[in-house]
Symmetry: C2
Subunit: 200 residues, 2 copies
Amino acid sequence: MPEVPESAPSTEDAIMAATYRALCEHGYAGTTISRIAAEFPKSKSLLYYHYEDKDDLLTDFLAHLLDRLESDLQGKPPQDPPERLDALLEKLAPRDPSDEQVRFFQALLEMRAQTFHEPAYREQFRRTDDLIVAELTETIEEGIEDGTFADVDAERTAAFVLSVLYGALDRSIPLDEPAYVARSRDELDRYVETVLLAAE
Amino acid sequence: MPEVPESAPSTEDAIMAATYRALCEHGYAGTTISRIAAEFPKSKSLLYYHYEDKDDLLTDFLAHLLDRLESDLQGKPPQDPPERLDALLEKLAPRDPSDEQVRFFQALLEMRAQTFHEPAYREQFRRTDDLIVAELTETIEEGIEDGTFADVDAERTAAFVLSVLYGALDRSIPLDEPAYVARSRDELDRYVETVLLAAE
């Protein structure tokens, strides 16, 4: 997900790229409209014209991430189901996250923990989770159809895989142990081998 | 974990019980020293004498939870390894959490997401995670020794199980879908059956 371009053409894209940089640098709690404006290369008044409230901007930012993920998934080259599954896991919880990715995941976890105070965030996270579960489900179903995967309940398995990815991030990022992500991914691979690839 | 007594004898226990109630009611961000004082049945000056800073108090609160978990685990009646494992999972991520537990988990997730700003919290979460992984590892090792469990890498499996529990909570609580916990627990049971109980 953290692939917002450095130099973006439209005003909206430029605002979103500035928001991404501010979140990486200051975290969720430390991000303010003026700190986002400081990262914004165009006229500050343009930004204040679009947004006066941090939470409105961040809700749009989450929607923007969702749109990017959606078009990203649509543009994928055809792969066989196990490769497609692995590419998706690597995209969502990379084995060896960069410092920037770690800071961005930290900001996302902060935002997820804010959903009781900001229900608009919850709606965006729910849509994102639903999209990921749908993509995982489709991948698993394809694998069942072509005989690569065992005949599991695809949607339940997909929901579990997403839950494991959240666990990998939520266990490692707050403890500042990025290496825990790779360990969880190894165990997830074992689960996939034992439960999903049992058909082979 | 959320088993702080309603009426506690010592001043420290009373402060911790008041902190628990304030977190359940106001969440992490909304909890202040004065809101904790409002939940404190004894003299307010007693509380302000012990703590002037919310973060110091919450760091001690996390340490208090860890102590309780530790004495709780020591006082457990002897059980066979699968029962002990299941009891531990139910304790850490209950299948059917009460409203109070949901609010408390939400506050804990908020605090975990604060670790980049409050390194003292991180230390407490790390100690708690280490204690849980040690308890899970011991349970799995016992099961391997008595032949109930397959000969897996106990510590890696334990770390994965904890990660799955975090995932179950982090996927369900922010989306306000407590029922997702039971679904993750079902899949975790399937994992335990397939990977751990394979010895049978």
